[in-house]
């Protein structure tokens, strides 16, 4: 007949021996080398936006392509690259003390963005330096972390929908009864 006390009596010395060997092993702290084989945990920038602005379209486009290629060459993953619509500026200079227009200018500020993903923190300053070294005249370079506003800017507003919503508001808002 099995009794619990007999089982424990048999298992106890074995358990004690096993525990004693593990305890002695813990005194000598040794970690297998494969745990550190991948290197230390490097902090990364999840998304970086490299924005380029300029008045000259061809120069800006070529620079944008060069930045894209440079990032790929440096081993940085390029998530996306896009263009935002240009900002059109109309400038009028007036003759002194009059309303007569002396000259008119039409300027367009074009923009390109290259989005980089998972940039290691040791590589980001190097990339920025290289991008700055190749910066042509007349181009402004900005490097920012990605914000929701940067995606919002890309959407083209639906003017028709806005107009209809305005009309609805004028009529007194949407109907409150449930249907």
């Amino acid at each position: 007949m099995f009794s619990i006390s007999k089982i424990t009596a048999r298992c106890l010395p074995v358990a004690q021996r096993a525990l004693s060997t593990t305890a002695s092993r813990c005194k000598i702290s040794f970690e297998p080398p494969y745990l550190d084989a991948g290197g230390p945990d490097v902090p990364e920038f999840p998304l970086l936006n490299v924005q380029m602005e300029g008045y000259d379209f061809t120069v800006l486009e070529h620079y944008g392509k060069w930045v894209h290629r440079t990032a790929l060459n440096m081993g940085i993953e390029v998530e996306d690259s896009w263009a935002t619509p240009c900002e059109k500026i109309h400038i009028q200079t007036f003759k002194p003390r009059s309303v007569k227009v002396e000259s008119e200018y039409d300027l367009h500020v074009y923009q390109r963005t290259v989005q980089l993903a998972d940039v290691p923190s040791y590589l980001a300053p190097m990339f920025i330096e290289v991008a700055q070294a190749g910066l042509p005249e007349g181009v402004n370079l900005t490097v920012q972390e990605h914000m929701p506003e940067h995606t919002e800017v890309r959407f083209i507003p639906d003017l028709e929908l806005k107009e209809l919503k305005k009309q609805l508001d004028l009529l007194g808002g949407p109907s409150k009864t449930k249907k």
């Binding site: 096993a18 092993r25 000598i28 000259s103 923190s121 980001a124 190097m126 330096e129 700055q132």
Partner: protein
């Protein structure tokens, strides 16, 4: 059973421990190294360098090819219409001529007004006053090259031409050391932007035997790169600094010591 199997493994561990303990005592016998943070403050080029003869020739060729292949612009079409209008007026064909259009400014007049306005505009000179005087301590010189700040700093009992440096103090990060270096050697008016938290270069040197204090046999210098713009502010030399100069990369090799210049040139991006 378990003990006999683990015996050879334990023996390996013990021998490993013994070896590491021996190595650490060897390092302590040689001495401690002082950690020093140094700031490599760079002003990137302001203006593009002029084109080489080959580049100028090629760009000219590309421009002519582009012009030949392009369509006529609005300005050129307007000029052609003006000429046609003049012809019609000569022949007396007033029906086909739009008199309102004729009274407006012609394309030629518009072009002349534009060229006059361009002549009236003088761009800023590429060779500044500091270039003419060869004033090496001004930031507003050598606009086509990138400039690096080098100071004559007191290290121990001697003055040396180095990148501004200061020893690391426990309780701060190396980057904070470099920011302190900038404040102490260049004053608070110079706005430097450090790009990363990791150093970009390294240089090791031993102190001369008389200058070895606090058990330090030498120093290990870690360089951090910082950017400055031409309108960032002036350098106000601090306590240990006698002189400061903004040098381009080839001038650096002449000014700094050979081994130091080698370590520095390893992390500089060439601007040519």
């Amino acid at each position: 059973m378990q003990t006999t199997r683990s015996l050879p493994r334990n023996f390996k561990l013990i021998s490993q421990l013994w070896n590491t303990r021996r190595q650490s005592t060897a390092a302590e016998a040689t001495g401690k190294w002082q950690i020093v943070g140094a700031a490599c403050i760079t002003r990137p080029p302001v203006v593009c360098p002029p084109m080489t003869p080959l580049e100028a020739q090629y760009s000219e060729m590309l421009a002519t090819v582009e012009k030949e292949l392009s369509l006529k612009s609005n300005h050129e079409l307007r000029h052609e219409q003006d000429l046609m209008r003049v012809e019609f007026l000569k022949l007396g064909d007033t029906e086909e001529v739009d008199i309102e259009e004729a009274s407006k400014q012609t394309a030629v007049e518009f072009e002349d007004a534009c060229t006059e306005e361009l002549k009236a505009f003088t761009p800023a000179p590429i060779t500044t006053e500091a270039d003419k005087k060869n004033d090496l301590s001004s930031l507003n010189r050598a606009l086509e090259r990138s400039l690096i700040l080098v100071v004559k700093q007191k290290l121990g009992s001697d003055h040396q031409w180095v990148l501004p440096q200061a020893p690391w103090v426990p309780g701060e990060t190396l980057r904070q050391t470099c920011e302190r270096v900038v404040r102490e050697t260049c004053g608070t008016s110079l706005k430097v932007k450090f790009l990363g938290n990791a150093p970009c270069g390294y240089y090791k040197y031993k102190f001369p035997k008389q200058a070895r204090k606090d058990g330090f046999i030498g120093a290990k210098v870690f360089f951090y790169k910082g950017m400055v713009r031409e309108a960032s502010g002036n350098v106000q030399p601090g306590q240990d600094v006698i002189e400061h100069q903004w040098l381009s990369q080839d001038q650096l090799d002449e000014r700094l010591k050979r081994s130091y210049a080698d370590s520095v040139s390893r992390f500089l991006v060439s601007d040519k």
